[in-house]
């Protein structure tokens, strides 16, 4: 990784300040002009390194307090279809195919967010009906031990 690139993304890992010109503040720390930083971020976006400048909310505070990780056992041949069907649900925020194990045969993972436990269960039943995947486990979130913003500096150094 080139050092100028590294320096820029490390500076961007810090959340933006709530000030009129937040990019200018980051640019100043980097010793570059605001315009230069903005065009660099635009470049990273077009390269897909940055998906977007994101406003990140806490979902509990948004009223989505009933969350569950639902793991599904899907035939390999149907994995693609099931993944697409689940992804079409707005309540599903994450849908990943993952490695399965003999003692844990689930290969498709979905995060379901709802405003109540009952609503969450209803959505999961509908997902099962639409995909015709009957074998699944609902792993409700009982406690949050940790939730932080990933720090690229810690991960990459």
């Amino acid at each position: 990784m080139k050092s100028a690139f590294r320096k820029t993304i490390f500076a961007l890992t810090e959340p933006l300040a709530l000030v009129p010109a937040p990019y200018a503040a980051v640019a100043k720390r980097l010793g570059m002009s605001e315009q230069k930083l903005i065009s660099r971020i635009a470049e990273y976006q077009s390269e897909g390194i940055i998906r977007r400048m994101g406003i990140v909310y806490g979902h509990f505070k948004m009223g989505y307090s009933a969350n569950a990780l639902v793991v599904w056992r899907v035939d390999e041949a149907q994995l693609e279809d099931a993944g697409k069907i689940f992804s079409a649900f707005t309540a599903v925020t994450h849908c990943y195919a993952r490695q399965a194990y003999p003692e844990w045969p689930y290969n498709l993972y979905t995060m379901v967010h709802a405003k109540s436990k009952k609503q969450c269960q209803m959505i999961i039943r509908e997902m099962s009906q639409k995909s015709r995947v009957g074998e699944y486990k609902v792993l409700s979130t009982l406690k949050e031990f940790k939730k932080i913003k990933s720090d690229l500096r810690e991960i990459l150094t």
């Binding site: 961007l12 940055i50 406003i55 979902h59 994450h94 031990f145």
Partner: protein, 149 residues
């Protein structure tokens, strides 16, 4: 305290933060507010923890970062210690207690496969727990913020 106007604003706000010299002014114009009022609203939302932060959403894979979801079977009497060990890694961003035989679920990211493996074997050693599943991502079908709901 957030106001009823903040709640209306929240509903309208997109998850994308403008890439512009005066981003709050851009949002303010869309919402028919002043830039100053928009910043004040963001500060209230942050204070109430409705807003977590504004930052770039990096595609970790494009940065050659490897990530995985790990499930561990942790007996109750070892839970506190295990959580301490796991949470101590800056590489662990999320860690939850879930219902089921595998009860501790966390995400871990590292600069290479080798580093990730080392973190996992360290966690095994330090916690004395061997029952661990490395649930590697094979394909991402969807990944989006809760706000988009």
């Amino acid at each position: 305290m957030i106001t009823s106007k903040d709640k209306i604003l929240l509903k309208k706000l997109q998850p994308e933060f403008p890439l512009a010299s005066r981003p709050f002014a851009v949002l303010a114009e869309q919402a028919g507010l002043s830039e100053k009022d928009m910043i004040a609203a963001f500060k209230r939302l942050q204070k109430e923890k409705i807003l977590r932060y504004i930052a770039p959403m990096f595609d970790m894979r494009k940065l050659s970062i490897v990530s995985s979801l790990i499930a561990m079977r942790v007996p109750l009497n070892k839970q506190k210690k295990a959580v301490q060990v796991i949470n101590a890694y800056p590489n662990v961003s999320h860690n939850y207690l879930r219902a089921g035989e595998y009860n501790v679920w966390f995400t871990v990211s590292a600069a290479s496969e080798r580093k990730l493996k080392r973190i996992l074997s360290d966690i095994r050693k330090k916690t004395g727990i061997d029952a661990m599943l490395d649930l590697k991502t094979r394909k991402v079908f969807k990944s989006r913020a809760v706000f988009d709901l």
